[in-house]
């Protein structure tokens, strides 16, 4: 039997149990390090007001995910703004891009509907909308209102220029054939340019609808237009009636063209009709002169040749008339016309313009003249009608360019010296003429004129006698007057009908169809 030999080892000085506090300490250290490494960024946001923001309570959220909390709310040194400092979680770091936007979410009612209802109970929070730019920004300027379009949304940004602000506001819809495809983001009035600039955002995929030939118009509310072509009433969709909006589309018969790039600028037309009005690149300008009243003639009035529109009235040249220094001398009123050959189906080219120009010049020689016509009975607006006139007064139509050129040429080679010599000769002539007039007055025949006048007066007396109340003539006059009275009475009833139903002059009164009994199915 062998004796078991126990191997004896000295006891460990430090028991294993000390691993427990070491592990605890390591855990603690790891927690501290982990927290330190994961400490999120501290950012500052400037707001115009601290309404709804509380230090230590107000959260910063993105898509309703909590990113951090506001730590301090302070005023800037000039007391004009509020600086909000917030500590964010580390995972929020990539959200702090150059174009990130911050705004306070509180209950709001706007064109886009009611938002932020959830904050009634929980109190406001600051919303972070991350952009697509480079991350790492630490100081931000907060927005007063939520942005209409979140940063980084795919789509197209275009700008519209308009001379009037109309009823388009930020947040209004952008409609394509009545369907909302985007929204108005900004409205800015440019004081120097005297125009309003609207920033529009068209959401993808509708951005493809915007091409170089696209026309934008104000689709807000109701448009009532009374012109030479009658009365037009235009109604937008119900939504645009209530909140306004901008619509866009291609004008009829126009090819879309190339898709536009971001930031393209367009004109904002006042209404659909204005947007649809075709623009012609090539045109001829003429000046016509009217020596009668041009009442009812406005810029944009049609110019027609035997009822076919060939152009429009550009404007009345009153300013030029007055500045020419011919005030009140009874000169005819010049009106500037724009004749567009393309309206007649001719190609919209310079060649067509030349052809048209020659044709009109030829026509003028053969008696082609412009006259004022009544465009619309109700509105009293006028049109310009061009037609051939027999025995026309010379040169009614003249091209403005030629006229201006001729005027300058005449001014240049004005024959002043021969004119003065002529004048001298005329004065000599005048002297001799006056001498012969003197002789004429002294002649016997001239002396006899007063006697002849006396005779004439006597005859006039006799004629007046014939129109005395007892005479037959007076009878017939009074009969004529009573007839006129009757006519006026009839006219009065017509006026009444018209004032009750103005369109009855155009449209026949509705005929009510007799009810026909029908079997109910």
């Amino acid at each position: 039997m062998t004796e078991a030999i126990a191997s004896i080892k000295p006891r460990r000085k430090v028991p294993v149990i000390w691993l427990v506090p070491i592990v605890a300490a390591l855990l603690g250290v790891w927690l501290v390090v982990y927290n330190y490494l994961n400490q999120g960024p501290t950012i500052t946001i400037n707001f115009s007001t601290a309404a709804g923001i509380q230090a230590g309570k107000t959260k910063i959220k993105s898509l309703d995910v909590e990113l951090g909390v506001v730590t301090t709310v302070e005023l800037t040194k000039d007391l004009s703004e509020v600086i909000v400092t917030a500590e964010l979680e580390s995972f929020a770091r990539p959200l702090l891009t150059e174009d990130s936007q911050f705004w306070v979410v509180r209950p709001r009612i706007g064109p886009g509907g009611i938002s932020g209802l959830g904050t009634i109970l929980s109190g406001g929070h600051i919303n972070l909308e991350a952009g697509t730019g480079k991350a790492g920004r630490k100081k931000f300027a907060g927005l007063d209102n939520p942005p209409v379009t979140p940063a980084g949304t795919p789509g197209l940004q275009v700008y519209l220029a308009s001379e009037r602000a109309g009823s388009v506001n930020a947040g209004d819809p952008v409609l394509f054939r009545g369907y909302r495809v985007g929204s108005v983001e900004t409205t800015e009035f440019d004081a120097s340019g005297q125009s309003v600039s609207y920033g529009l955002f068209i959401d993808a995929p509708y951005d493809k609808l915007v091409t170089e030939n696209t026309r934008f118009w104000n689709a807000s509310g109701i448009t009532l237009e009374a012109g030479a072509n009658g009365v037009k009433l235009e109604l937008g969709s119900l939504q645009s009636l209530l909140v306004g909006g901008v619509a866009f589309d291609l004008p009829d018969g126009v090819l879309p063209g190339v898709q536009v790039k971001n930031g393209e600028e367009f004109a904002l037309f006042a209404n659909l009709a204005a947007a649809n009005r075709k623009s012609y690149d090539n045109f001829i300008q003429f000046v016509v002169a009217f020596d009668q009243s041009v009442r009812g003639l406005r810029a944009g009035a049609p110019v027609e040749y035997r009822g076919i529109q060939i152009g429009t009235v550009e404007r009345l040249l009153i300013r030029e008339l007055v500045s020419d220094g011919i005030k009140g001398s009874g000169d005819p009123i010049p009106v500037l016309l724009k004749i567009e050959p393309a309206r007649l189906g001719l190609p919209d080219t310079a060649a067509a313009v030349t052809d048209m120009q020659e044709a009109i010049a030829e026509g003028v020689k053969r008696g082609l003249r412009a006259k004022l016509g009544t465009g619309n009975l109700l509105t009293g607006s006028s049109i310009i009608d061009i037609d051939y006139v027999d025995n026309a007064a010379p040169a009614g139509l003249a091209r403005i360019q030629r006229q201006l050129g001729n005027l300058l040429a005449k001014l240049n080679d004005l024959p002043l010296e021969p004119a003065i010599a002529n004048l001298n000769a005329t004065l000599v002539d005048l002297q001799s003429t006056l001498g012969s007039v003197n002789g004429l007055v002294a002649s016997d025949a001239t002396q006899a004129i007063p006697v002849a006048i006396n005779d004439t007066l006597r005859e006039l007396n006799a004629t007046l006698d014939a129109f005395s109340p007892d005479s037959q003539n007076a009878d017939s006059i009074s009969r004529s007057l009573s007839d006129l009275n009757q006519t006026l009475r009839n006219l009065e009833s017509l006026t009444r009908t018209l004032s009750a139903k103005p369109n009855s002059i155009i449209f026949a009164p509705p005929v009510t169809v007799d009810p026909v009994p029908q079997r109910k199915d």
Partner: protein, 206 residues
């Protein structure tokens, strides 16, 4: 170490840790259940001290981190232990503040300090009187029963108040740390062998 002659230890006898059977120490294993035989708890002072250090380390996050997160109407309001006590005092709930303060601050701190004192005495060459040490040990035992109160408060509140959307109470990370403190102190108290107090006494008396 020599033991007084009139004790079991002096005669090489020890109780089994598991079944309490009296056996000779030199057998190293209990003849009844096979459990280990030791005259005193192994490394009693070292173990107690190590667990106490663990408890102290855990006590730091237990007080710094929020123990409870009261989400009222969607708005979270995390509260630390001391922050909660201050809040309760400011609300005028003195009795509740007192209970929380006693259970969460006074009890664990008192227990930690008492055990530290006892272990320190164990290492000292000239320890304090055995009577004093005994009193302190009794205090440890008395107080230890209540050390879980705070964890209980959190556990019960979390379970009871779950009105989703209106008021929800969620446990914070400090609750785990605090539970760790409590468990560590319980184990420390268990690792401490009170007989060590009186071993020296008998030595002295001898």
């Amino acid at each position: 170490m020599s033991y007084p002659a009139n004790t079991a230890a002096a005669q090489g006898l020890a109780l089994c840790h598991v079944c309490g059977h009296l056996d000779k120490v030199e057998l190293h294993e209990c003849t009844r259940c096979g459990g280990g035989l030791h005259l005193r708890k192994t490394d009693s002072l070292q173990r107690t001290l190590a667990l106490l250090v663990t408890a102290v380390i855990l006590y730091i996050p237990a007080n710094i981190l929020p123990i409870m997160n009261t989400v009222q109407l969607g708005k979270g309001e995390p509260a630390t232990i001391l922050g909660g006590v201050v809040l309760l005092i400011s609300m005028g709930s003195y009795p509740i503040a007192g209970v929380i303060f006693i259970a969460s601050v006074m009890v664990p701190v008192a227990k930690l300090m008492a055990l530290f004192y006892l272990t320190w005495n164990g290492f000292r060459r000239e320890p304090a009187s055995a009577m004093q040490c005994t009193k302190i040990y009794r205090l440890t035992e008395l107080v230890g029963k209540w050390s879980m109160v705070d964890v209980f408060v959190v556990a019960i509140l979390v379970a009871l108040i779950q009105l989703t959307g209106l008021l929800v109470i969620l446990p914070g990370p400090a609750a785990v740390a605090f539970a760790g403190v409590v468990v560590a102190t319980i184990l420390a108290a268990h690792a401490f062998d009170p007989r060590l107090i009186w071993d020296r006494l008998k030595e002295d008396n001898d």
